[in-house]
């Protein structure tokens, strides 16, 4: 677990004048790390991006001290990860943003129009699956039973009056399935990248703000100077302007 690596990592963090900061991320978040890098450079930091595919390996790398921080996963997932791996990754406040997830359809204009036996594509990874199921519940399309594990799964579906068929796809693939399904549930940013209008959604997930995303570090680094400096950068106007201009509402900054 992380404990065995702790001393080594502590040494690393304690080094005075440490300038190189490695931040893990995935492709969609790469620009954010870029702005962080630009913002921190004048403060004497060399922020480096370590790009991962989407899965839990960035978090593993962080817990093992192979990177200094990550910006990828939302807070609830990080908490689950901590629980499962018996470690302590933390997201210092203020949180940076949340990703808007919504339901998109090219075929149907309203929720009611979703027909019997509809196909709905969702990202297949458990965290997004969990969120999607909750969204579908909130839309009134199905009801869920009791959550048994960390995440809701299709096994937890209780009533499914429209007999909706959930298609589990790779998160990168979800939006690309839109022509072949009745609706997709996916991040607005990916919708924008795919060339669709991210704001013409069928249903907007109300719980989006419950999934904050921001810099995640090991607990023992919470007080490190570089973390404090990083937080300052993420709150700077320059950062926020670039952010809003780029994501245009698909990622939403918290207004703390």
């Amino acid at each position: 677990g992380c404990s065995s690596n702790a001393p080594e990592q502590a040494n690393k963090a304690a080094q005075p004048g440490k300038k190189v900061i490695q931040i893990a991320c995935v492709s969609t978040i790469d620009p954010i790390v870029g702005w962080l890098q630009e913002g921190m450079a004048p403060l004497g930091y060399d922020v480096q991006t370590v790009m991962f595919d989407a899965n839990q390996l960035p978090a593993t790398a962080l817990k093992d001290g192979n990177v200094d921080g990550l910006i990828t996963n939302h807070l609830p997932w990080i908490q689950t990860f901590n629980k499962e791996n018996n470690c302590d990754l933390q997201m210092p406040k203020p949180y940076t943003y949340y990703s808007r997830t919504a339901v998109y359809s090219l075929k149907h204009k309203t929720i009611d129009a979703i027909p019997q036996n509809a196909l709905i594509a969702v990202p297949g990874d458990p965290s997004n699956m969990d969120r999607s199921l909750l969204t579908l519940r909130d839309m009134g399309l199905l009801t869920l039973g009791e959550k048994k594990g960390n995440f809701y799964t299709i096994l937890d579906i209780k009533d499914n009056p429209k007999n909706i068929k959930i298609i589990e796809t790779d998160i990168t693939q979800t939006i690309r399935s839109i022509n072949d399904v009745d609706a997709v549930i996916t991040g607005a940013n990916r919708v924008k990248l795919a060339g669709f209008d991210p704001n013409s959604f069928l249903y907007d997930d109300q719980t989006n703000p419950n999934y904050p995303i921001g810099l995640v570090v090991n607990a023992k680094d919470m007080d490190a100077q570089w973390v404090k400096d990083a937080m300052k950068v993420t709150q700077s106007d320059e950062f926020r302007n670039k952010f809003n201009k780029h994501f245009n509402g698909t990622y939403v900054l918290y207004n703390n």
């Binding site: 899965n55 839990q56 965290s127 799964t153 589990e168 990168t172």
Partner: protein, 224 residues
């Protein structure tokens, strides 16, 4: 060691998730292997006919085929899926689900098999080909009645190897909502921090690998 609850949960997963995934995997790998073997074999025949040391060398045709084979082989799996999605939609009517997964899997497996078969045909003793020519066998007869026959052990090995490779590769079918054991292992196992599912799926994959290898070895022994 494992409580009652464990078994109930596993059973439920088995019934709803792992069970269907097994069949889905079997269907996809079987379909991929059948189609890719046929196409790969056909492609291998063309490569063998027109190759520089082939039965009927035609540099231009060979170069085109070679180019196609190499092109397909240079795509990372997921990108191949995307790249051919217009074709996928044309052929199977959708870009998601098992059927849509079979096309890119087949497309990836075909040049792989074709190259392996071409390589094994190249190893057939030239004297036997000459002997067949001496009694007037046509190029096709030389391929089917001499090269195929002589290369049968190789062909069995190739099929075994490819089946195992694409059993593992069928994981990528999960990307287009086709399910399968690989996707279950990833999503319900690894990413859900559920080791039971993870190990169960991998174990079943392992059993499948063993079965494929077992059949391959048995056939090989029987024939050689």
């Amino acid at each position: 060691m494992f409580g009652n609850e464990f078994w109930v949960e596993l059973l439920k997963y088995f019934d709803k998730i792992i069970g269907p995934a097994i069949f889905s995997t079997i269907r996809m790998v079987t379909a991929t292997m059948i189609i890719a073997s046929i196409l790969g074999f056909g492609l291998a025949i063309l490569l063998t006919l027109y190759g520089p040391q082939g039965l009927r060398p035609r540099e231009k045709i060979y170069k085109v085929l070679d180019f196609i084979v190499n092109s397909i082989r240079s795509f990372p799996a997921l990108i191949l899926i995307v790249a051919i999605s217009p074709i996928t939609r044309m052929v199977v009517g959708t870009t998601i689900g098992e059927k849509a997964a079979i096309l890119p899997l087949t497309l990836a497996a075909t040049p792989f098999i074709a190259r392996l078969i071409e390589d094994s045909f190249k190893e057939v003793d030239k004297q036997l080909i000459e002997a067949a020519r001496s009694f007037g066998a046509s190029d096709m007869q030389i391929i089917f009645r001499v090269m195929v026959k002589e290369a049968i052990p190789s062909l069995i090995s190739i099929t075994t190897l490819t089946a195992i490779t694409y059993l593992a590769a069928s994981t990528m079918a999960g990307a287009v909502g086709a399910g399968g054991l690989g996707a279950v292992a990833l999503n319900y196992g690894y990413q859900s921090f559920n080791n039971t599912i993870l190990y169960t799926s991998v174990f079943i994959l392992f059993i499948m690998v063993q079965i494929i290898q077992g059949i391959g070895t048995w056939l090989y022994k029987k024939i050689v």
